[in-house]
């Protein structure tokens, strides 16, 4: 017999016979200040969750349902929901169905039974994801959705907790969480071992250890096994009990009074101290990992039966009978009535509409625009006070890229108090390349955050801040450092609007110092030239300025995109051009630009830049490639009489299609110059794009499929000015690329 059916029959039989598992706790309702009503409400949530699990299997068997990973055995988390407030943001483990139901029953006017069933059948009526994905989540219940399958939701929970403390001092216009809220974040015992989880737990402790408020309650739901691999006995407690900066609580997830009592204690501790804690909840896993999982392959029969004998619902039934006036029959009545109504509601929801077209599925990748307060920009007095005479004078003179970005960040932070910078060494030091110099002193440590060395935590901080209405501008110190953290963008930040049907958003601008060509500071990790990992993330914008003027204007446009359109923007800054001043000859200062004052018309999102109006050839490029192509443009004209237009793509993703076609329309040929690798670079997409949309001859030069070496050969694998010239000549004379 199916284990779910065995557990069900066990419940009916054992409650009917009064055959309950031995009590695990002696605390009574009175001891912990609970009411009988609270206890029954928790039980109802547990029963609803259990019956939903059972129904999900029936729905799948009938071809109507698409998700069977259940919460059975973890229903103790309903007691944790009861101990928290409805407006405490909760980043939930995928086995927290009972938590969400309990919270819904506690809130006003919710319909958790139908809502959960709609998500099982992937109906477009599903109020959280619109039928896109089975996720726990709810806007009115402050439960941001995520899949939580690999513990990648922990870093953003840390960020959200940080944002609550910060919002008290710098109130964001679109603040979402109350000042006295605490963040709850749950995960399984196996997930605790993910480096992402370990990093987030460490970051929480580190943050607390240095005295920063962080009202965060981690909940580790310990059922003792991760799919088929057991956690060593006592491992979770051993791992979490003595973490610096993290208070440890443990509760029995099989006993709802104990779970509620300890959760309440932990909740009050976190809310009062505004420090992080972890609540270790012991529980069991029933029915295996998911519908198709055969536990008997890796567990002995007695182990399975031992867990089933400790079904938390049996413990709850005993507690209800012992602690309230409910009889065994009453308990069975609640259980049976919920079973029946869930079956009825399930029958209704299978007829509800599903998503059908690609456009419907895609619709929530990009969230809706939001209304923001209008701003006239910082006043002259405020600017004078922040910049001082020296900076104001410097603005009137041509400056390099890094200085322009620095000025722009100052102005943006002055204008929008919800902008927060975060990254390694960006504060006191002012950044490895000085881009954030003086910002820390001018805007304070709360808005210019020197983070610990963990990119997942930096991006998690940004996600949490973004969810609470801030406009975070996290910095990844070098492009290569993004890779150990990219899932925070790919799997978390970029999917939030998609999973929530546009109801939750986490706008941000991720500044990344990257790309190659650094002459004196070589090596792969400081000169990475691959952004393939970013290019295919749906909805993500990649901006890449090549000069100081563009950088300023594009950064302003990026902030507008994040603030008003709730977009996630990666702002890729070419390190090698940070301090570059000259273009063609030493001392010509042609790569310096006067800082565009606030109010200057910005190139809008998707608008490419051009240099020259020649029609023999269009050179389509970006970043360092643009710089070298402009150098080549002069030589091509002077030495070979070739007239060209150099097109700076500026916005690498999504590809500015129409603007590219317009900019190259008058040209006879197209040469693509890409400083990233031959494989996976923009050039591939551009070749395909022009192949599909143009009949002009097109060729490309790229970097080799190689890592960047340290030392004199730093540029050996990269397109040089002369390579561009050679490729252009080849294209013009033979219609093909150079060999």
């Amino acid at each position: 017999m199916d284990r779910a059916e065995i557990v069900h029959q066990n419940f009916l039989r054992r409650v009917g016979e009064g055959d309950f598992p031995l009590p695990r706790s002696k605390v009574s309702l009175r001891d912990v200040g609970m009411t009988a009503e609270q206890l029954v409400a928790i039980f109802r949530a547990q029963v609803i969750s259990r019956q939903l699990d059972r129904r999900s299997r029936t729905l799948q068997a009938e071809g109507h349902g698409f998700y069977t990973i259940g919460s059975s055995g973890h229903e103790g988390n309903a007691a944790i929901a009861a101990a928290l407030r409805v407006d405490d943001p909760a980043f939930l483990h995928y086995r927290d169905g009972a938590f969400q139901v309990a919270r819904a029953l506690k809130a006003t006017g919710q319909t958790p039974v139908r809502d959960m069933l709609l998500s099982f059948v992937c109906s477009s009526d599903d109020p959280i994801s619109g039928g896109r994905h089975k996720v726990l989540g709810s806007k009115p219940l402050s439960i941001p959705p995520q899949t939580s399958t690999i513990a990648s939701h922990l870093p953003k929970a840390v960020g959200a907790a940080y944002s609550i403390g910060l919002a008290r001092r710098h109130r964001p216009e679109h603040q979402q969480y109350p000042d006295d809220a605490i963040v709850m974040c749950s995960f399984g015992d196996a997930s605790l071992n993910h480096s992402t989880a370990q990093g987030a737990v460490n970051t929480a402790g580190w943050t607390c250890y240095k005295g920063t408020p962080l009202p965060l309650l981690f909940v580790c739901e310990d059922n003792g096994i991760g799919i088929s691999v057991k956690s060593p006995k006592g491992w979770v407690e051993a791992s979490l009990r003595a973490r610096p900066g993290l208070e440890y609580f443990s509760c029995d997830g099989l006993d709802m009074i104990d779970a509620f009592a300890v959760a309440k204690t932990a909740e009050q501790w976190v809310r009062r101290h505004r420090k992080p804690a972890v609540l270790h909840m012991e529980c069991v896993r029933l029915y295996g990992h998911a519908g198709a999982d055969a536990q008997t392959v890796y567990l002995a029969r007695h182990e399975i039966e031992e867990a089933e004998a400790n079904d938390p619902l049996l413990h709850s039934a005993r507690r209800l009978i012992d602690e309230t006036t409910l009889s065994a029959q009453d308990v069975l009545t609640v259980y049976g009535q919920e079973e029946q109504r869930i079956a009825r509601v399930a029958n209704d929801v299978i007829a509800r509409p599903k998503l059908q077209t690609a456009a419907q599925v895609r619709a929530s990748i990009v969230p809706a625009k939001r209304t923001c307060l209008l701003s006239n920009g910082p006043s002259p007095e405020a600017r004078a006070a922040v910049f001082g005479d020296a900076d104001l004078r410097a603005m009137g003179e041509p400056q390099h890229l890094a200085r322009n970005i620095n000025f722009a960040l100052n102005d943006l932070m002055l204008e929008h108090e919800e902008i927060v910078l975060a990254g390694e060494d960006i504060g006191c030091k002012g950044g490895v390349y000085g881009v954030t110099q003086r910002l820390h002193g001018r805007f304070g440590a709360r808005r210019v955050i020197d983070t610990l060395l963990d990119e997942q935590s930096i991006l998690g901080l940004a996600i949490g801040l973004g969810q609470n209405g801030f406009i975070p501008i996290p910095e990844i110190q070098f492009l290569a450092y993004l890779h150990n953290a990219e899932d925070q963008l790919r799997g978390e930040a970029a999917t939030l609007s998609f999973f929530s049907d546009g109801q939750f958003t986490n706008p941000m601008i991720v500044r990344i110092a990257g790309l190659a060509y650094q002459r004196g500071f070589g090596g792969h990790f400081h000169n990475d030239n691959s952004i393939a990992v970013l290019r295919d993330i749906p909805g993500l914008i990649i901006a890449c300025p090549s000069n100081g003027r563009d950088a300023t204007l594009m950064l302003r446009e990026s902030v507008r995109l994040a603030r008003e359109e709730q977009r996630i923007v990666v702002f890729l800054e070419p390190i090698a051009l940070y301090m570059t001043r000259d273009l063609h000859a030493e001392g010509d200062s042609l790569w310096t630009h006067t800082y565009p004052q606030p109010g200057t018309q910005s190139p809008s999102f998707g608008e490419v830049g051009t240099e020259g109006k020649g029609t023999d050839l269009a050179i389509v490029t970006y970043g360092n490639g643009y710089y070298r192509s402009v150098q080549a443009q002069k030589r091509l004209l002077d030495d070979h009489g070739l007239q060209s237009t150099v097109v700076d793509i500026r916005w690498l993703a999504p590809l500015p299609a129409q603007s590219l076609l317009d900019a190259t329309e008058a040209c006879e040929r197209i040469l693509i110059v890409d400083e990233c690798r031959s494989t996976g670079s923009q050039s591939e997409a551009l070749m395909a794009f022009f192949g599909e949309n143009s009949t002009k001859p097109v060729s490309r030069i790229t970097a080799d499929d190689c890592f960047i070496p340290t030392g004199p050969a730093y540029g050996a694998t990269l397109p040089s000015r002369d390579d561009v010239i050679a490729a252009a000549l080849a294209l013009v004379t033979t219609g093909r690329r150079t060999q």
Binding site: E37, V40, G109, R114, T324, T325, D330, R344
Partner: protein, 360 residues
Amino acid sequence: MSRKTALVVAPGRGTYNKEELGYLKRHHAHHVELIAGFDAERRRMGQRPLHDLDGAERYSVNEFSRGDNASGLIHACAICDFLDIDTDQYEVVAITGNSMGWYLALACSGSLAQQDGFKLVNTMGTFMQDGLIGGQMIYPFVDDAWREIPGKRTALLSLIEEVPGLYLSIELGGMLVLAGEESALAAAEARLEPIGGRFPMRLANHAAFHTPLQQPVSERGRGALPVELFGKPSWPLVDGRGHIWYPFETSVPDLWDYTLGHQVVQHYDFSAAVRHGVREFAPEVIILLGPGGTLGGAIAQVLIADEWRGLTSKTEFAERQSSDPILLSMGLADQRAKVVSRGKAQTSNLTPWANGRSAE
């Protein structure tokens, strides 16, 4: 044969009209003791007994629509109807009501004993009549097919924002009930396009229910109707926020507080009550207690807006009603016949969710 599951809806004010005169006499002679008990309370309050009112030769709008009379009459009709639901055929899975119908729903659910339920509705009706603060009017935002006219509801809500002292009182299917002092209602009327010579329609003898103007009534109610009158419901109740109160776990002080507080002074979302009732309990039918059947239109409009079981228009609803009715109005003779037990004068033998037990 398995019983059909039913969501029970109790009607609000304005449902005992000329056609309903004699309703108690016609349908509820077997509940004579219960009605006598209600009349004892009426006499104690110095009010005309229901028996007299219902047995009057002539219907008078002035007298019958007064809060102190209408409330008691409608309560008696509805409670008696509830008791007459054929439990061999129907299983009640949840109860809700519109406006004053919330008090009736409480009484039906067993949250208040029969006489206490009557006392609640009669007392609040009397207080309303004593004060008669402001008034109500009704205006639709659906077309003839009962489909929402795009932008109309939003425009009405904007009107409420713009006219000082005008409030949203009830969300009533495809209509909104607006309320306020006379000046606010007049200002709203001046801006609302007349529809079919009926709308905007003033509701006679109605106060500005479910608005902050009723704060004095709320306070009098709290003073006159102690929490001890209340108990836990035996069936799930869906209130005027679409919130569900479950039998064992209902906090009685919270229920009392909502009933005499929020419910009196904040808008009543009957649409949410019906919508959440059908969404969360998936009943096979909706039973609308009598008297009258006018609330059936609003219920149908909610179902159409929700595309409940594929209903998308008034025509489809009417077709469904003629083949396999989804809505059974006990105030309409032909539908009543489908609900009541034949020839059986019964007291309540309904099977409640909670078996009449509390958790305490």
